[in-house]
């Protein structure tokens, strides 16, 4: 059957703001929003959008579908009525059509030192028990799609807020038994733009396509930061 897809078109060189443009696409039970965008690109090759894997692992096809952050490849037209609206991810600057500038997101990710910090140079394998793995495993499933940043009203109000994915990543490494870098990460988390920028809206966890539950990670981070605060009072 045929469905109407309204796409927010934007060319920064000629447009002052995004304008909706309607396209007709053929849809069956397995047509994803990404498939629909590829159909539209056949009609209008100037449509700009990012995609790669088509299987919810590369994290590049994030768009707003009817105002909700979604992965285009994991969202199906069958779940929408005859018409739907697709626009660029909220809270990011639009480069063209559905392509946003992800640089602020990447900068925040890098700020929390998201890698194992450990002076141990031994060549022996670092073994972990299933219990040690379970502490952080869920938080390691993030694919950096940025949907949680589009969902987060606090990131929308304050782009300096580290945001759900970065804090989750910090928490992922802080909880890893092989890591010794918590002291280096805590100052970022302790600041007003760290865990304390969150007001526990929880929409980040609702939109996360990998069920990472960043809101839980941020709140674990608040407990860790509060503990760090108390310890700091007893230090000279």
């Amino acid at each position: 059957m045929s469905k109407t897809i309204n796409i927010a078109r934007y060319n920064p060189q000629t447009d002052s703001r995004p304008q909706l443009q309607a396209f007709q696409v053929e849809s069956d039970n397995s047509t994803s929003v990404l498939d629909a965008l590829l159909q539209v690109q056949q009609q209008d090759p100037s449509l700009g959008f990012r995609w790669s894997c088509r299987m919810a692992i590369c994290g590049s096809c994030g768009v707003m579908v009817n105002g909700i952050p979604k992965l285009g490849c994991k969202t199906f037209l069958r779940d929408y009525p005859d018409e739907l609206t697709v626009s660029a991810l909220a809270h990011f600057n639009v480069e063209k059509d559905l392509i946003v500038d992800m640089q602020p997101f990447l900068t925040h990710l890098a700020a929390v030192k998201p890698y194992l910090i450990n002076d141990d140079q031994s060549s022996q394998p670092h073994r972990q028990t299933p219990a040690q793995l379970a502490k952080y495993q869920q938080f390691a499933n993030c694919i950096n799609c940025g949907l949680c940043y589009s969902a987060c009203p606090q990131f929308g109000l304050n782009p300096e807020f580290l945001g759900p994915a970065a804090i989750t990543l910090a928490q992922r490494y802080n909880l890893d038994s092989r890591d010794a870098g918590k002291t280096a990460r805590m100052p970022e988390l302790n600041s007003k733009n760290g865990v304390w920028g969150c007001t526990f809206v929880g929409f980040c966890s609702e939109v996360c396509p990998k069920k990472v539950d960043p809101a839980a990670a941020v709140n674990q981070g608040k407990v860790a930061s509060a503990g760090d605060f108390i310890i700091s009072m007893f230090k000279p």
Binding site: T107, A111, L157, S191, K192, N193, K222, F229
Partner: protein, 123 residues
Amino acid sequence: MNNTTQPKRSDEPVWWALFSAGGVCFAVVVPGAILALALLPAFGGISADNLSYPRISALLHDALWGLAGLAFIGSVICLPLFHAAHRIHHGLHDLKLGGGLLSKVLCYGSAAALSLLAIYLVS
């Protein structure tokens, strides 16, 4: 973001701790107090004599050397006040009306002032 300088530590853990404690009191102690002091006497679940002035006064001022009264006021009035102040402070930030030092002083200041008033009134 500059990685060479460390950002300033936020004082939010203090307010968050009061907010959390107040939230627990709001959810557990306040409904219990409403049940015991308002609903049960009104619907005849307990005798109104249980709320007589000498009895309540003794509970507030004398039980556990006055600590019971202080704990009651703290958990039914003071901590919930700080919980509410925290919500209002962050709500103002969400509405782009504040969230800065002024709203912080006003919100937590009024919570502190009303808490002291409550403690003064029962002491």
